[in-house]
């Protein structure tokens, strides 16, 4: 399934409404970790209507900053 933020096909369903009402499902992208609920506003869950500033389809995720760096191993 296509992620609404990074537009890769790594998204899948992770939850349904726990009260059994079928009110919504939750989806998660394994690539960029974006998650969304099926009942959210169009400008959150529809890639065409999302604010392009928050899209990650043109961003190389490997180059993101690491604010808490991994230290060298110590024996």
């Amino acid at each position: 399934m296509k992620c609404v933020r990074c537009l890769h096909g790594d998204a899948h369903k992770v939850a349904e409404a726990p009260d059994g009402s079928g009110a919504w499902e939750v989806y998660l992208c394994d690539r960029c970790n974006y998650s969304w609920r099926s009942t959210e506003e169009e400008d959150v869950i529809n890639p065409e209507k999302r604010d392009p500033w928050f899209q990650l389809d043109k961003v190389d995720l490997d180059t993101l900053q690491i604010p808490c760096p991994i230290p060298p191993l110590v024996k």
Binding site: V14, S21, R37, T39, D43, V44, L64, V74
Partner: protein, 473 residues
Amino acid sequence: MFRDLREFLGKLEQEGQLVYFHDEILPEPDIRAIQRGSQDIGSTGPAVIIDNVKGYKGKKLAVNVHGSWANHAIMMGMDKNTNLKDQFYELADRWDSYPGELKWVKDAPCQEVVIEKDINLYEILPLFRINKNDAGFYLSKASIVTKDPEDPDNVDKENVGTYRVQVQGPDTVAMQGLAFHDVAIHLKKAEEKNQPLPIAICLGVDPMLTFMASTPLNYNQSEYKYAAAINGIPMELTKCIGYDLDVPAGAEIVLEGEIIPRKRVCEGPFGEFPGSYSGTRKQVEIKIKRVTHRKDPIFENLYLGRPWTEIDTLLGLNTCVPLYKQLKETMPEVKAVNALYQHGLTVIIATDQRFGGYAKSVAMRLATTPHGISYAKNIILVDGDVDPFDLNQVMWAFSTRIRGSQDVIVVPGTPGMPLDPASEPPGMGVKVIIDATTPMAPERVLREVKMVEKVDKAEYYQKIIADLHSQIK
């Protein structure tokens, strides 16, 4: 004061500071709007319990618990109408009773229910997207416990901090740790040995613990002992089931897990306390191994966004008091410190002057305190008899004391706070000192001015008139 969140909510209800919202709503955008709306009531706004979220029938959510100065005063055990300056002095007084007492209990309420199989956080917690462009569902008000892996028996080094947590899978979360946070010290020691770091994410705790978890304390000062000291009752703790970590016995929900060593995952953006979104970064990943909770648990979360929001109240006086104490050590002339604005990016200090120019020395002292180095970028000085929490008085000082040619000082190229959008490049800053105090000798005073004196007994009559007023409401 209060042993746990439930006791506090009970007191809020008694004081008319808690409302229930029973109408059926969607998680998004309704919870966001209810949070924002209850926040915008201002300094007397109530906490809200929401109990009818579509898809989450039967689950309870508490918001805006610290959302007003009235609720803050009740947390301190004070009258809900107590003004800010009096809350500040009360907190400053109790600060000195550190350390308070810790007490370990068995059969803790927070472990009444234990989930170890098929953990699904999206189904256990009534999660929701706080701001529209957040990357997912966040825990914004967790008290997060870790230990120093090289000194696990030292309870003073056990850290309780509030860091933002993004749910990134049924049993997976990511957490923002910044290099200057205490948890980063623990993590570094674990990662150097390629060991997982045990972690407990506590949701819905005694309001004073939430307050202390967001206070900048020294590395070897215990948030638990501070909460106990300020509450005036022992802090009741219990051991996690799977780890040697101490958690509040009365917590509503505890997520037990471990930080996966030497791994970073995509996290953010998230609407942050300066009122802007943080970027997308690579942060630590946590595997949740066990969820424990009270029967009928209350999930507590916090709204933050364009200020003023609950986080401004929560990070308010606990930013002011440590700065006040640090200044007072060497400069007893300092009367009060208002660092309410964006965790102390702007600070207003009321001080008497020992001699001409002294207020500017106070500003430079503030700029070199541990918190002030990167945060305090706008430092405003007013006379000791001006209430720095009353912005009408501060603006009066601005209007009638500042001589632009010599009272505004700009120091470029100083450290800055990376989350401040004006910090460019992130981490660099500019300090501005604005001296709105009355000049004193040997500085040349151009004109002799006599301020109108304060009115005796005005505070006494203010209380009486306010009481009479509230009786006719």
